[in-house]
Symmetry: C2
Subunit: 153 residues, 2 copies
């Protein structure tokens, strides 16, 4: 459903989806490897996708679920694990007694620091490969695209 068209064979240009996905996955792999090497090996990719979306002042479960595109049951399940592993804690939401805010714990910020370092390194490598100008154009185009592809923008 992607590249090198059906049985007919004429190789067209590569699907933009694949083009986006490849560097994304490469970056994610690098971050994960570095995190594991730094000792943050007690969470799974699924948990990370939730953890990543917790804001600095805490985020509601429902919002986490929506952003991660999973059901709130699934998000709750993952937050349970993260809580047990010490990455987050749940605190009452002062503005709504039904809700609780999922807040990052110290351990999460420490992991984030490692992750941010790797991201910066990879971005540097990319900038070296593309040249500063094309790297800037790339980020600029992607940022613009966000306007029509990110329901949360």
């Amino acid at each position: 459903m992607t590249a090198d068209g059906g049985p007919d064979g004429a190789e067209p240009e590569t699907n933009t989806g694949v083009l986006l996905f490849l560097p994304y996955r490469a970056l994610e792999n690098r971050v994960f490897a570095a995190l594991a090497e730094a000792g943050f090996d007690d969470f799974t990719p699924a948990q990370a996708r939730v953890l990543q979306r917790i804001g600095p002042h805490g985020t509601r479960l429902t919002d986490l679920a929506e952003q991660a595109q999973v059901t709130k049951q699934t998000a709750g399940f993952l937050v349970d694990q993260l809580e047990k592993a010490g990455y987050v804690r749940r605190v009452p939401d002062p503005t709504d007694r039904r809700a609780r805010l999922v807040c990052g714990a110290e351990k999460a910020w420490a992991a984030k620091e490692v992750a941010d370092g790797v991201v910066a390194q990879v971005e540097k490598e990319w900038a070296e490969h593309l040249g500063k100008r094309r790297m800037r154009q790339l980020r600029e185009a992607l940022t613009s695209l966000r306007e029509i592809t990110d329901p949360w923008a």
Copy 2:
């Protein structure tokens, strides 16, 4: 681990990984929805990620696994489902009696046609938003990035 940095608060520029992921996911969602609407609702996202990587002349299980970044056991499990659903068939590899080629069936090419249509449509929308020039630059930069991020390139 991504945006709006830790407890310190200073909002830096958005992580390039997120920037790549957002449009990727938006595109994938569109393709999936269209496929389901066209009646191709009997396969899962995990199966699709394998199906997508089957070449026009068939691909070995081991290669599918490597490209999809799953174990060969997982790939085998998914191909089993796809085979039952009629999307693929396994044929002996004439060049190696241990191996079998996973080949797309008619149903897979039909689905691919639907998917390609949606991708083309979405790419058109993106080009309209960005302008032809920036769209070309985007694809060009991503293609270049592939050289250092795609182990299969």
